[in-house]
């Protein structure tokens, strides 16, 4: 069977920066409180007319350019998102059209904050099975569409942005570059993170989600490493969903991964749900914190509750 690998990344953040002090003018909070509870110093939010598809297009264009492929080489586009303004049309077909990708298979996927890892798994399997040659995988979110700016437990956390990756086949004899996905869900806890039909705003049971993430996710990460044949000490980078710096640190501690190898993009990006992992990957690549050819662990988790993890080879 053909192997699959990630060829390139790309990220996009909107221009508008919102600091903790800005939020303290709207709700009863403070810079110190936000930094100590969630680790965010600032975040970016989209303009009023900027859509999920706009941000997905921007990130997708960067990943496509970085891959060196022509748009015509892409035959599958997947957009992971849980914050689309409307359910129809999907973002993927629009984004593909705008990027000049002719008539690819195109669909949106909603696994909330685990969405990017789900999309990478789906793209990888499609490439390996031969139903696609090259896939453009994008996580894009405008979380601020679904925020109650008077709810200080959520409006300080969520933000907007997009990140993308190009997935393609390995060359003959090249080792597989996307490890087996370990994924699942806990629907019995579905009510822990919801958008309610009356308020159209995200509500979450922060303590319960924190407990779940800090107790149930490191075994998922360990299983993904095991199935890829890599020990956590061999990982050059760990990119968990950027939910909360304290969750990130707790999981990294349990895996024994040193802090300098762990993505901390949340500090300046906030929680961008499915966009957080590819955004963090793009930033780490720009900062020279990723070493090509080495194994990196991705771990997505969030509303559903849904989760997924896989080890990738850094392009």
């Amino acid at each position: 069977m053909t192997g699959s690998k990630i060829l390139a990344f790309g990220g996009y953040q909107p221009d508008k920066v919102v600091t903790n002090d800005d939020l303290a003018e709207i709700v009863d909070t403070s810079d110190e409180w936000i930094r100590s509870r969630v680790g965010i110093e600032s975040r970016r939010i989209a303009g009023p007319d900027e859509t999920v598809a706009d941000m997905a297009e921007a990130a997708g264009a960067k990943a496509l350019a970085a891959s060196g492929l022509t748009p015509a080489s892409i035959d599958l586009v997947i957009v992971a998102s849980c914050s689309s303004e409307v359910p129809i049309p999907n973002a993927a077909a629009t984004v593909a059209h705008r990027l000049g990708i002719g008539a690819p298979a195109a669909y949106d996927l909603n696994a909330a904050c685990a969405g990017f890892c789900y999309a990478v798994a789906a793209a990888s399997d499609s490439v390996r099975a031969g139903s696609a040659r090259h896939a453009l995988v994008i996580g894009a979110e405008k979380m601020t569409t679904w925020i109650d700016w008077h709810d200080r437990s959520t409006c300080i956390i969520f933000a907007d942005g997009a990140g993308a990756a190009v997935v393609g086949p390995t060359a003959d004899g090249e080792p597989n570059g996307i490890g087996p996905v370990v994924w699942g869900s806990a629907g019995d806890q579905a009510e822990k993170i919801v958008i309610t039909t009356d308020t159209h705003a995200i509500r979450q049971d922060g303590q319960a989600v924190f407990r779940w993430a800090t107790t149930a996710m490191h075994p998922v990460a360990l299983e993904a490493c095991k199935r890829a044949g890599v020990s956590p000490s061999e990982l050059s980078a760990f990119i968990p969903h950027q939910a909360n710096l304290r969750i990130i640190e707790a999981i990294a501690r349990k895996l024994g991964i040193p802090r300098e190898r762990v993505a901390d993009d949340i500090v300046h990006a906030g929680n961008t749900s499915s966009a957080s992992i590819p955004l963090a990957l793009s930033r780490m690549a720009e900062q020279g914190r990723l070493q090509p050819g080495t194994p990196a662990l991705l771990l997505g988790f969030g509303a559903g509750l849904s989760y997924a993890a896989q080890v990738i080879t850094v392009p």
Binding site: D205, Q207, A208, R211, T214, A250
Partner: protein, 79 residues
């Protein structure tokens, strides 16, 4: 397990998670007011306490456990 042993185990956990020296963890101390421990650290302490003592402390219970003695008593009663 005696209350004294539970207290000693709890003090170790609090030292590890919140960086509060074990000798400051005395029964009358209030987690929030005296030890500066927030709600997320309380969850971490509850999870570590479950591993150490085999007693589950659910989230809905946590808000009622305000002092070190409250946790010692809860663990003692439920172990």
């Amino acid at each position: 397990m005696t209350d004294q042993e539970i207290l000693a185990g709890l003090a170790e956990i609090i030292d590890e998670i919140a960086g509060v020296p074990a000798d400051e963890v005395t029964p009358e101390k209030n987690f929030v007011e005296d030890l500066d421990i927030d709600s997320l650290s309380m969850v971490e302490i509850a999870v570590a306490a479950q591993d150490k003592f085999g007693v589950e402390i659910p989230d809905e219970q946590l808000k009622d456990l305000k002092t070190v003695q409250d946790v010692v008593t809860f663990v003692s009663k439920n172990s």
